[in-house]
Amino acid sequence: MTHETYLLDRSKLADSHTLEVARADGAYGALQKVFESSMSPESVVGEVKKSGLRGRGGAGFPTGLKWSFMPNHETDSRTRYMAVNADESEPGTCKDRILMREDPHCLIEGCLIAAFAMRLDAVYIYVRGEYRLPYDRMQAALDEARAAGIIGDNILGSGYSCEIHMHKGAGAYICGEETGLMESLEGKRGHPRPKPPFPAGFGLWGQPTTVNNVESIFNVPFILARGADWFRTMGTETSPGNFLCGISGHVERPGVYEVPLGISARTILEDLAGGIWKGRSLKAWFPGGSSTGVLPADMLDTPMDHDSVKAAGSMFGTGAMIILDETASVVRSALILARFYEHESCGQCSQCREGTEWQEQIINRMLSGQGKSGDVELLVDLSKGMFPGKTICALSDAAAIPVLAAIKHFRGEFEACISSPEEILA
């Protein structure tokens, strides 16, 4: 299978993280083009809108449209910020760490183009605290770029100035939620804020702010260098471009693969990841991280794009496929994820704080041979009570959806825990 690639091309070069290698490979060429062709900030936003780029952090919101929500600079003179969400912590997802580690200058270039387009004063890159090497690589790249006149005052002689700063989180999944991220960046507990107000109106320190995922921003230099029309030659009409698919679990060759949106999940699993490990067969798969509903093996021909995965009853999410072979227990997977969401709930909303704990307790007793008649129904009722729109943020939804999907497709496995507990314990 061959297709055009761009996201990971530079990272295959030796020392791709250094300014020298990156520049020789064309880094900052798109930024230079924006300055030299005298593009207006509005026309940069227009090009990103035209490209149809959708956010790669999980929600799939159109990036250009999000940028256009920033208030008019002529009528709103407040300081303007972007926070790059590098808090990558959705189970199954490990693409942004590769981009930051191997090609930090492309992310910096994307930040600067976004900053020019939205007339930003500063950009903060919020990296999860555990990502030491990606953080250090980003910081070293920023220092190199600053020394070369690419960041700070009068960037590349354009007259435009912008600062980019690194910021280190401390290990909390909820800080990947955009308002939790902003609270955390301000030095507080990562408690999501009620919306509205939305970040474009009231973001970091109450100022206009846009929050974008690393991979979303990483696409921007390519769109500006090669054009929105080129970008649309890859992917689908409603989900253009390539994405990084991390495929993990029971496969022969787990890895992060660059593929066009709309490629079938089967092609990724069988052609790129070498199929199910140990000659076994597929039982179930998560299409886009742990918060997306698990799907059965017979849906493996689903195209991997936002609309198609939604039509299949799940979500594209971060595009991180997690694969379970025929020997895996879907109930155990549900327990591991319930335990995760219980651990990560920030505790502000009762539906989430209590709901995730109860989910974990019920599934745990089912797997311990202590399940009670009616527990499956109870789990369904409980999970349905946790969403949608009942809490400040979507963590509660993210905890409820995988449990409901697991019961929908594998109800028999849950019921067997109660009817034949001796088999579970064996």
Binding site: R128, K168, A170, A172, P254, S290, L324, F340
Partner: protein
């Protein structure tokens, strides 16, 4: 005072990145934990509160929210084994068992000799290289159970 002049000078510089000083608190707590004994002591809480012009309870509230901060003394080397789904599917339980066997510590506890602290953690973002563990901040990926004793044995 726990906070050294060198750290304070570092924080002065750190805080210039932000329009409000408080934003430097979490990065500063990381540096305190790294430099001042591996955990956030009550003295660090008090000193950071003074430095950031906050109440000690506000600093405690932040420090206690984030899993990377330890609020009690722990073993010298922190061993964190990922227990989330991608790692679990590829044998994280055996990695945890091997780490328990080598260190003699149960999860969430320090070894008797104080050399190791062992914990299970949620997803560390290395899912395509599962199973994995983190030792003193360094990632060890694509692990086999037998790797654990070798890696921990090489820690000085």
């Amino acid at each position: 005072m726990a906070l050294t002049d060198a750290l304070k000078a570092e924080f002065d510089n750190l805080c210039t990145k932000y329009p409000h000083r408080r934003a430097g608190l979490i990065p500063a707590l990381h540096r305190c934990q790294e430099e001042l004994g591996g955990w956030i002591s009550p003295e660090i809480i008090t000193d950071c509160a003074e430095y950031f012009k906050l109440e000690p309870v506000e600093v405690y509230s932040v420090a206690s929210f984030y899993p990377m901060f330890f609020l009690s003394p722990i073993g010298q080397h922190v061993v964190s084994v990922c227990r989330n789904i991608s790692c679990d599917l590829r044998g994280a339980c055996e990695i945890t068992s091997a780490a328990t066997e080598h260190t003699g510590a149960a999860c969430g506890e320090s070894s008797k000799d104080g050399r190791f602290y062992l914990e299970e953690v949620e997803c560390q973002g290395a899912c395509t290289n599962a199973p994995m563990m983190v030792v003193d901040g360094k990632y060890y990926e694509d692990l086999e159970p037998a790797d654990v004793a070798r890696i921990l044995g090489e820690i000085q």
